[in-house]
Point group: C2
Chain length 735, copies 2
């Protein structure tokens, strides 16, 4: 396990920024003839030319798209898809395949074209030509999308692909540590992540790079398409760091390929060395030329617009192609890649043979591994949740632990992590092991291994969520990642939470400290408006349970949502159990009546909507309004808007009964936005200001969320209604 | 201008992680006696002890808070507030003061205690003791807040303080380059940023560090409280990178102080060298011990809980203090800091003398500088906006340029930047200069200087917004930062946009490509739910103008909002001018009637609400509904919910007229959340899925936002109403 020596030929001081990237022919090869390349380089020449002209044509046809990057990366693609990556075009979801992530997703044609050339059935030439077309069933969207054959994750917003690939590498390491046996390496794949100059500027990538270096994920390789050009011009407008030195400082092995446009052999050699790396992830800095061969080669103009007809024609002439022919892929080029299908089938067969032998020798483990691959949880997982909870005021973050820890302990599918808030989020379980580089012994005495299922993500919320997406995407259902931090910090993580929702990946986010009740940390930590984002986000469940029983319901809903991420949003402070009224099963309906004023259908004066940490406030206010003010008050508990919206109209009407003219008043110390659908008025926070640093109870009082003030606000509102001052269309914020 | 040689005594390979941080006495001093320290070290000993016990008492009194970090940083604080920083306690907003940013804001007692000891009038001992108390007027919230004396920026969410300090350093460099004259350095301050282990893990900090290195901000020093402990335990649980090497790779000078708990002289020497740095920002890696002296010193338990009575008593005994006395600050300690007020007054006087001479010698420049400091724009700024626009379909992002570029060109207060989307966002102006290190000549031929007002932030959206907050906070109104990128990417920037709103800082965010009309880039770039976040965010204006005229109104509202950030959200694609109907002045009311069906107050059948890029769709649908279906249709343009909410109830009712029973239908290709306050139904996007990669017009059609489908949906809804199928409380998504 000796570390591979780095072979960075670029030197120590960032000369990658000073070399002349346009004059690629002057560049020396940094790595020489590898053994694995049998074909003569004249094939390479034709393949590279064909590929580059194909990209130019594909952008030119509808006069749009991103040609430059894909063209510059051609040789990298040949190295990957012809010589290096393990995959099977005809069995694209083969479990032990290498995973490829295109973090610079705007260069999607790069990936699509290689999927076509290597024979992925769905990626026909016709489909390839659908790029930027009006076809709504196209497989070639502007950024790769996970639902299409051969695509591992959806990328787009830059930088996240890096973190996704770290997640894929963690998943692979973890499954290998869990299921591999001597002579049965049933999980042995490698993760390849392609990045551009931009990805390496994004914070989420920098967080993930630091984490991957720490975890020593030697099954991960980042390939840097170093063309030193972004939209605005050359990268030295904004970034002059020594990227190789930075990567080494983060614990990565670094290689440089000087002639990344043509030196396929050199790239292959380095990538093969990266695959065999034994202690560190590998960063391969490949110098390329954006839009090579075009009139705008090496220029920002090559990035995001088609080259124009005459330029494309010139490119073809220069390459010895006919300028009047389009999308030309000769048989020789198809031939060049034609072994990929048979090779892929062989690889798959070998793996199935290995698996058969493994099943024979380790039947129990093999059975468990098979169920994991199918995304199955143990049939009895729900029974692991306690039926009852201690009958005392309990913070819902503590309830979260009571509900989920028994599941996490028993069900290996769950990998749980935190952005450095282990003592606060209650997501650990007895006997939990850390996911760490085997042999690491920390200063605080913790050991770990890749078998461990608890991930210390560090104070890297965005990476935590994006890494989790990668873990979930590895083979959906095999690993169900759980993240955790304060709810407010899920704003840092939001771009990745969104991408999880967009990709229909099951990731559960345990968000604590979700209300002004979190107290002294003050306005910067008090999430007044964040729930609006997550209540609006498609394909996401934002659930605020009101007590332990509802917390059980929240986790149940989240675990059952196989294609939907969830945020379970809990309180820092203890809240009363609403025993006998709250109901875990009802949580799955989003909202439900916990107190009727009279018999079903009878007349009531108003409905109070209680939510999450403040549910008991609604219950208590209702009691006073009934007792002291003779109002007939109903109470609805409303943990999840999205789940409620999915119910029938009848259920929704009968729960809220606004159609009978009964006004509904919501109570939640967030801004009102979004509650107008369900309520006529709301005891809420103002949009003029943020929160205030005070102990929880005083914070509630300061903002008028103490019981007396709430009751008073409701009475005043009811009085205004009585006097006819509230008209149709008036929604009132009761501040 | 020769670069300062780095004096990192920690060596090349991250030994900062291996040294024994608890046994500080074994540590050698890395920097020896500086000239500037006159006092004998016995004062230091008393001051350090007093400070540490004071922090322990302040946390113990209410049994909460964050004692450990502040205690560990005591010597750094003495170095800063006694020997290094330029400030005046009695004139805390003195323009040329050094700026201090506590990025690890949970250690706020560190700052509060030094504000007290150095004599900031409002920070009395009584106030200091308000930390974690029930006092709602306390000056000691759980994280520092900008509105209190001596606090430069509000920090809290980790990492952002680093980016804020980069913004402060940019502001200082820029103002110095703009206003300083030979022998009149009217701007000459230094920026000091304190960070903990966590800040250096956050992506936003890593982005900002890379940018600061590129810009060679030698007026910026990061002081790293390297105690190698975070909430979860020792930092090596999650981060084992070589931070010094990483910082050097990013273009920073690096110094290490081994004995950061006691070596005040060493710290002072290094910080003074940092101040005199001439080509690079400086990173000072100070090894400290969290919770020094307590039973949990060097342990994660010292981070976020009070030590307990007996431990605090023991600490006092150990230090020779009486365990039964609390908050003890002897006269000797006050004496030690007593020169700070007079020193500060002297510094302020000197600067005013300098300014007087400057005013005499450069009256015009001085006049302009004075107006800038007062936050004044030229009186005629609004007249720089064109009165008319070309009468042709225009993308509102282009309109944004037409409106704002003449202002940006003439009004020096605006510093404009982009996250690498210069060609797309239209925020440049004729003759614009880049803000760059003087002498930098990029590969793409661009020169720049610190006088330039256009910042290439790189693909670092989060840092862009957080840096801008720093620029705005430098002296509010002096610089008005403008950021720009695609609207979707403001999700990356959201945590910093929020902090700008929380701090009441005027930053204008020019967000383009704001609808599914942005097209081919696909669902990852199509912002369906992001507007909900920004419409919910307190103290923020999210404005979607519908044509050039409304874009003029949007910018006017944003520029006038001196204490509120704005997002001006514009289209990629051309939209028709609604000439003669839209009105820039009316934009400031948030929503207004652009077409009445009949005379004011007459009966109408419905109101269509049009928004932003799809405003013309509402106008066109109304025309068809009137002409072909004899419906009496009103049209309301609704660029900004927040501005509308601020109008009188009468104005709001008369604009929407829902109180007269006229139903309102909103049209916007976002999810509906939030529109329920203003509309009864909405042609909107589903919450079941995200967008789709298609050319803009096809994307509209695919999601039913073409004219015919919209009309059809409205007719069906009206028919359902007519048949009594829509009841009170029913909000309908017309999907």
């Amino acid at each position: 396990m000796a570390p591979i020596s780095t072979r960075d030929l670029a030197g120590e001081h960032g000369d990658n920024n000073s070399c002349n990237r346009l004059d690629h022919k002057q560049m020396s090869k940094s790595v020489t003839t590898p053994a694995v390349i049998a074909r003569p380089s004249k094939d390479h020449d034709l393949v590279l030319k064909t590929f580059r002209l194909l990209i130019a044509d594909l952008c030119q046809q509808f006069k749009g798209g991103h040609p430059g990057g894909a063209i510059g990366m051609a040789a990298i693609g040949v190295a990957l898809w012809k010589y290096v990556m393990v995959y099977s075009p005809t069995e694209s979801t083969f479990f032990n395949r290498d995973r490829f992530v295109l973090s610079n997703g705007h260069t999607c044609l790069f990936q699509y074209a290689f999927l076509h050339l290597t024979g992925y059935p769905s990626m026909t030439l016709e489909q390839l030509k659908s790029y930027h077309s009006k076809r709504s069933d196209a497989l070639c969207p502007g950024h790769p999308e996970i639902e299409h054959e051969g695509i591992e994750v959806t990328t787009g917003p830059l930088g996240q692909g890096v973190a996704n690939s770290v997640g894929l590498a963690i998943a692979s390491k973890h499954l290998a540590a869990t299921y591999n046996q001597p002579s049965h390496q049933v999980v042995s794949n490698h993760i390849w992540c392609m990045v551009g100059d931009a990805c390496l500027q994004e914070g989420v990538a920098l967080e993930a790079i630091s984490l991957a270096g720490h975890l020593r994920l030697d099954n991960l390789t980042i390939i840097y398409d170093n063309n030193q050009v972004t939209c605005d011009g050359t990268v030295d407008l904004t970034n002059t760091e020594d990227v190789n030195a930075k990567m080494r400082a983060c614990g990565w092995d670094v290689y440089t390929v000087e002639d990344g446009c043509f030196d396929i052999e050199g790239i292959v050699t380095v990538l093969n060395q990266a695959r065999s790396a034994a202690t560190k992830p590998t960063f391969v800095n490949v110098h390329t030329v954006i839009g090579l061969g075009s009139a705008v080669a090496g220029n920002a103009k090559a990035h995001g617009v088609a080259f124009g007809e005459s330029d494309v024609a010139n490119m073809k002439r220069e390459a010895g192609f006919n300028p009047d022919e389009y999308f030309v892929i000769s048989d020789a080029v198809y031939d060049f890649f034609s072994d990929r299908i048979s090779n892929g089938r062989r690889v798959v067969d070998e793996w199935h043979n290995l698996l058969e032998s493994y099943e024979h020798q380790y039947p129990d483990l093999a059975n468990e591994f098979a169920k994991r691959r199918e995304g199955q949880l143990p049939a009895d997982w729900e029974s692991l949740i306690p039926e009852d909870f201690p009958n005392k005021a309990t913070a819902t973050r503590a309830s979260s632990g009571l509900v989920f820890n028994p599941i996490a302990q028993k069900v290996k599918s769950f990998m749980v992590g935190t952005a450095d808030l282990t003592p606060s989020v209650n997501m650990t379980w007895e006997g939990k092991d850390d996911f760490q580089f085997p042999g690491l012994k920390t200063d605080c005495g913790i050991n770990g291994s890749y078998k461990g299922r608890y991930v210390h993500y560090g104070v890297r919320e965005h990476a935590m969520a994006a890494v989790s997406n990668g873990m979930a995407a590895y083979s959906p259902g095999t690993i169900v990642p759980v993240t955790s931090t304060f709810f407010m910090f899920y704003l840092y993580a939001a771009p990745a939470v969104r991408m999880g929702a967009l990709q229909r990946l099951q990731v559960i986010h345990a968000a604590t400290h979700d209300s002004i009740g979190m107290g002294e940390d003050g306005p910067t930590h008090q999430p007044l408006e964040l729930a609006a984002l997550y209540r609006a986000m498609p394909n996401l469940l934002y659930i605020r349970p009101g007590d332990s029983e509802e917390t059980a319901g929240a986790w149940t809903a989240a675990v059952k949502a196989k294609h939907t991420p969830s945020i379970i949003s809990t309180s820092r402070h203890a809240v009363p159990q609403i025993t006998g009224k709250t109901n875990r099963k009802a949580v799955e309906r989003g909202a439900y009546v916990i107190e009727e004023s009279l018999s079903e259908g009878g007349k009531a004066d108003l409905t109070l909507i209680g939510v999450g940490a403040e549910l008991s406030l609604a219950v208590d206010a209702a009691a006073i309004l009934r007792q002291d003010h003779s109002l007939r008050v109903r109470v609805v508990s409303f943990p999840c808007q999205r789940l409620f919206d999915k119910q029938s109209r009848d259920y929704r009407r009968s729960t809220l009964r606004r159609h009978q003219g009964i006004p509904a008043i919501a109570i939640e110390p967030y801004v009102a936005l979004g509650w107008e659908r369900y309520a006529d008025a709301m005891v809420c926070m103002s949009t003029d200001r943020f929160g205030h640093s005070l102990p929880g109870p005083q914070a509630y009082e300061y903002f008028g969320f103490d019981l007396n003030t709430v009751v008073q606000k409701i009475l005043e509102y009811m009085e205004r209604r009585h006097r006819g001052l509230v008209l149709a269309g008036d929604f009132e914020e009761l501040l």
